[in-house]
């Protein structure tokens, strides 16, 4: 299988205001295979977001290697779709207008991608909301628009930085199901960052536990739960056990 993401001995340092070098990430080695749903879980401030920024080409690592689709990442690459915690929709654009933003920036054929945008909106459950403005949508719906926008230019990799972190529990579980549906339909490779253990186990083929600052890959746990996953999974003994394993690796069980 092809590694869509390949990180080798990656490290990132920051210069503090006093000029002291602060390590944010250290010894990150990670391979994410094509079509895989990989989840990174770790405490606040472990450098999860920094890692995603490096993979997206928005930030440069200090040392080590970062490759996406076999190519060294040194600047932003359009083969990636990103979803942040905040939907970051443009208030002056309708739903369809927001989804079409990458098409305009990448100067792709608008009329061709418009039908793709409508298909994606249907896929995330927003058919009929094409002409609404973001402020007319709920938080969960806005995040669905953000997911459709991240996929419109058909990137092979979807990077998600705590995308459901600002949503309430119920919406959050709904969105997890929406995302799994999208992933099963599109076959994208997903790297999903979260601080929710339950979310990590429910979604991932694999859960990568990052240690606190400086972030290091502490453990790599394959989650062997049946697919397609439904709400039923959360009731399984095995699911609870996986959650306990992750808790243990995060040092939450003495």
């Amino acid at each position: 299988m092809n590694s869509v993401i390949l990180l080798r001995d990656l490290a990132k340092d920051y210069q503090s205001v006093e000029g002291i070098t602060v390590p944010a990430l250290q010894n990150i080695t990670l391979a994410v295979q094509q079509g895989e749903f990989a989840v990174i879980v770790g405490p606040s401030g472990c450098g999860k977001s920094t890692l995603l920024r490096i993979i997206a080409g928005l930030d440069r690592q200090t040392t080590g290697e970062a490759k996406v689709s076999g190519k060294e990442v040194s600047r932003p690459i359009s083969d990636v779709g990103i979803v942040f915690q905040d939907p970051l929709l443009m208030a002056w654009r309708t739903t369809i207008g927001n989804v079409m933003l990458p098409v305009e920036i990448l100067r792709l054929d608008r009329s061709r991608y418009r039908s793709r945008a409508l298909d994606l909106l249907k896929l995330v459950g927003l058919a009929g909301f094409e002409n609404r403005y973001p402020q007319e949508l709920s938080g969960g719906m806005q995040q669905r628009v953000a997911i459709a926008r991240a996929l419109i230019h058909d990137p092979s990799l979807l990077l998600m930085d705590e995308p459901f972190g600002a949503l309430d529990e119920i919406t959050r579980e709904q969105m997890a199901l929406v995302l799994l549906h999208v992933w099963e339909e599109t076959g994208k490779t997903v790297l999903f960052v979260t601080h929710s253990i339950a979310e990590a186990v429910f979604l991932g083929d694999r859960v990568v536990v990052l240690s606190p600052r400086p972030g290091t890959v502490r453990e790599n746990t394959a989650v062997d739960l049946p697919r397609p996953r439904t709400g039923q999974i959360r009731g399984l003994q095995k699911y609870t056990e996986y959650c306990q394993i992750i808790r243990e690796r995060l040092g939450l069980i003495a």
């Binding site: 942040f84 905040d86 002056w92 920036i105 230019h153």
Partner: protein, 256 residues
């Protein structure tokens, strides 16, 4: 702007206005206030329609001065704000002059503008421009800088150029700021044009007010001031309508 449905809510304000004007009309003679100090509303009304005054010409001249000064303030203000926001070098070069131009009491220098630029409409337009440009620069620059840095990341991740980011994100994001700048700037333009006319003009509403003062024609001064108010309202309302058309997504952040 008010929708026609909401107009009924303003009935009390209109009634208060009518009562105040009526009280003024009745009380002024009773209290023995002479017409050359405070003319009664009916006399002002007569002056407003006085065929002996060439109102269309005076209103037209002042409206032209306001429009020209305001328009140049808008174009110059937005252009400078873009320059300041995209280039730190330009910011350091220009900001001291922008601040200086704002802090200088421009009205105190107004007579010099007439000396230098001649006794025509130009000095009034320049003074109007100088009085009105500052909010345009400051508000536009604030708007252009208001983009969420994460939105910029999102655009950069799509390999957006700086021009893309300006056009697709910074500029639309700054629309509410630009419109609030336009509203402040337009009211300042009315003040700038009328005060400049006080100093040395041959026509216009400000010129009429000064003239009326010299000839103790208080009704004329009031009438000219009322036309100035109406001009201000027309400019403000035009901007408000433009805002409605330009920002159909915006509901509730505007103060009518």
């Amino acid at each position: 702007m008010l929708g026609s449905r909401n107009l009924a809510g303003y009935t009390p304000a209109v009634l208060v206005f009518i009562v105040l004007v009526a009280a003024w009309e009745i009380l002024a003679p009773v209290l023995g206030i002479p017409d050359i100090i405070l003319p009664v509303p009916t006399h002002i009304g007569a002056a407003l329609l006085d065929p002996g005054v060439n109102w269309p010409r005076h209103i037209g001249i002042t409206a032209f001065e306001i429009a020209a000064g305001f328009a140049s303030a808008v174009v110059f203000g937005i252009a400078l704000a873009v320059g300041i926001v995209i280039s730190p070098w330009l910011r350091r070069l220009l900001m001291p002059y922008v601040l200086l131009a704002q802090i200088i009491p421009k009205i105190a220098f107004a007579p010099i503008f007439f000396l230098v630029l001649g006794y025509n409409l130009l000095p009034t337009i320049v003074i109007t421009f100088l009085v009105a440009f500052f909010p345009m620069i400051v508000d536009t620059a604030a708007g252009l800088s208001s983009l969420d840095p994460r939105m910029e990341d999102l655009l950069r991740s799509l390999q957006a150029s700086r021009w893309d980011i300006l056009r697709k994100a910074r500029f639309p994001k700054s629309m509410p700021f630009i419109f609030s700048g336009l509203k402040v700037s337009s009211t300042l333009a009315v003040i700038g044009a009328s005060v400049a006319e006080f100093i040395s003009a041959k026509a216009g509403l400000g010129f009429l007010i000064i003239n009326a003062q010299v000839t103790f024609n208080a009704s004329l001064a009031f009438a000219a001031a009322i036309y100035l108010i109406l001009l201000g309202i027309v400019f403000y309302a035009a901007i408000d309508v433009a805002q409605r058309l330009a920002m159909p997504w915006d509901k509730g952040t505007r103060i009518s």
